[in-house]
């Protein structure tokens, strides 16, 4: 019984959780344990898998390949394009939210996430090198326990690198929530994000002092907002370093493998 309720979340709308039961089990400035993997999908040109605590994302990259669904002008375009399909699995929803699962097609949220992901990677992928081609991203959000967009960005970054698609830089991402008690919570889980006063997700390329995407929901003063962004940038940079470490390790393993066999 215990196990089922843990797995599928509450059967009722969790309204007063934060005040009564909820307690953050790690320091405010610590992200959750990060699990990275590449090459999980055999068929794809490249794939990435990321776990941020209970948030799990898998991304497959197909391409560069000629566009499957031809749109006027794309076949002759001088630069490539990115398409993206985000799917939230049914494990992302609480039992009380079953009405939110789309019966067919994509939900509004999935559509918005796809647009955001394309916008993050459009300036990063060197699309001029892939004229008349499309790079197709297929993202499955296996489980959503907060900071889903950050996890998706990380996984896509891994998958694109795994597919050997030319990028300006690896992209890293982090979420910071500002709680009602005005604490900065790094990498918030779902309850923390839903109860936050402000929630900021920042994506940035690792090798430049620039930002690819900022998304902020909630109300903050300008000073608070800037310091929250600053914190998110620092966290994203640390996460980014571990991603590049991981990819280096992976490529070394790949190099030695054919020699020994």
């Amino acid at each position: 019984m215990e196990r089922i309720s843990q797995r599928y979340g509450p059967f009722f709308e969790p309204t007063d959780w934060l005040e009564t039961k909820y307690k953050r089990e790690r320091p405010n400035n610590a992200p959750r344990p990060l699990v990275l993997n590449t090459g999980t999908i055999a068929d794809a040109a490249g794939s990435g898998y990321v776990e941020l605590g209970k948030t799990k994302v898998i991304v497959a990259v197909y391409g560069p390949r000629p566009p499957i669904r031809a749109r006027a002008g794309v076949e002759n375009a001088m630069s490539g394009r990115i398409t993206c399909e985000v799917v939230k699995s049914s494990f992302c929803y609480y039992s009380c939210e079953s009405a939110k699962i789309p019966s067919r097609g994509f939900s509004e949220e999935e559509r918005l996430l796809s647009i955001r992901l394309i916008r993050v990677f459009e300036p990063i992928v060197i699309l001029d090198k892939y004229p008349k081609n499309s790079i197709d991203l297929f993202v499955v959000l296996l489980e959503d326990d907060g900071s889903a967009m950050a996890a998706m960005t990380l996984a896509t970054s891994l998958a694109l690198a795994d597919a050997s698609i030319e990028l300006l830089s690896l992209v890293s991402s982090a979420t910071v929530a500002v709680s009602t008690k005005h604490e900065y919570l790094v990498d918030p889980d779902r309850i923390e994000s839903e109860n936050a006063v402000g929630l900021i997700t920042v994506s940035l390329p690792l090798h430049a002092a620039q930002l690819c995407e900022i998304q902020h929901n909630g109300k903050l003063s300008v000073e608070d907002w800037l310091s929250t962004v600053q914190l998110a940038v620092e966290v994203a940079q640390t996460i980014g370093n571990s991603i590049s470490q991981f990819l280096l390790q992976e490529s070394k393993n790949k190099e030695t493998y054919p020699l020994s066999s």
């Binding site: 709308e13 309204t15 509004e108 559509r111 918005l112 647009i115 955001r116 916008r119 993050v120 459009e122 300036p123 900021i200 940035l204 390329p205 430049a208 002092a209 620039q210 930002l211 690819c212 995407e213 900022i214 998304q215 902020h216 929901n217 909630g218 109300k219 903050l220 003063s221 300008v222 907002w225 800037l226 962004v229 940038v233």
Partner: protein
């Protein structure tokens, strides 16, 4: 789809480099705004706003609805954005849906963060009945920067919205709502806390406020921020490679311009009502 030729693009980029823009504006200047209120007789509040070539029409409908027992809100607000197919070739099929869900999301997020409707007079029966505001937005023409135009038009439409007075009678645990049918027995909705959006486009290495459609086509990125009258930030969305160091400067400009715009909008509505 709007397109610019290579020559046009490089001319635009060079002009922005010198600190002016193709239509003669400075970098942080809005296009002329014209505003009309009370354009839809069947809506409780409405406005029509023209920002340069961009034109939007907003209608607000007010209803009494039932609410969940746990909810403490006085008002449920729903936004629907419709991008008219005649406005732009971008608004065909899927594209229109993407545009409207994005704009809707921005409005929802900004209004829920700003807690606009904390007015005591809007209280019906907490946990039982609440006001339902349906804001219908129609984009009639696009000349760039739809979000800002929509934000301003929505705020003005809400500020001219009339709320009928309601008598609440309680008898044995059931509530009876009696809506005053005298058309003059209405209160004006207070929207001091409602945010407006300000959008920057990144062109070359410069940021320009209120981009026109040409500028949007040539831009490398965008930064949209919702600010309220206190200068607090209610929503941010940016994409494209922005310099991290520029953020603080841009936000100060936004705070200042936002204040000026909000004051001007309020003044326009006040003068329009009195004359």
């Amino acid at each position: 789809m709007f397109a610019v030729s290579k020559a046009e693009r490089s001319y635009l980029l060079e002009t922005v480099e010198t600190g002016t823009r193709l239509d003669g504006r400075s970098l942080y200047e809005y296009r002329p705004i014209s505003l009309q209120v009370g354009v839809l007789p069947s809506a409780s509040g409405s406005s029509r706003l023209r920002l340069g070539e961009t034109e939007v029409l907003v209608g607000v409908k007010v209803e009494v609805g039932e609410t969940a027992e746990s909810s403490t809100e006085n008002v449920h607000i729903y936004f629907t954005v419709e991008c008219s197919g005649s406005a732009s070739a971008d608004f065909l099929g899927r594209e229109a849906e993407n545009w409207s869900s994005e704009l809707q999301k921005a409005l929802e997020s900004a209004y829920s963060a700003a807690s606009v409707f904390d007015d005591e007079r809007l209280k019906l029966v907490p946990g039982k009945f609440c006001w339902v505001f349906k804001v219908d937005i129609l984009v009639l023409d696009t000349g760039g920067n739809m979000l800002d135009a929509i934000g301003m038009a929505t705020r003005t439409a809400l500020s001219t919205t009339l709320i009928p007075r309601v008598n609440i009678q309680q008898s044995e645990g059931t509530f009876e709502l009696e809506i005053d049918d005298n058309p003059s027995a209405c209160d004006n909705l207070k929207v001091e806390g409602a945010p407006i959006f300000l959008t920057f486009s990144l062109i070359g290495s410069h940021f320009v406020l209120d981009p026109s459609v040409q500028e949007e086509t040539c831009s490398r990125g965008r930064l949209s921020v919702a600010v309220d009258a206190n200068g607090d930030i209610c929503y941010v969305c940016s994409f494209g490679l922005l310099d991290a160091v520029e953020l603080a400067r841009l936000l100060t400009i936004m705070k200042k311009t936002g204040k000026v715009l909000l004051d001007r909008l309020d003044e326009c509505v006040r003068n329009g009502n009195s004359s």
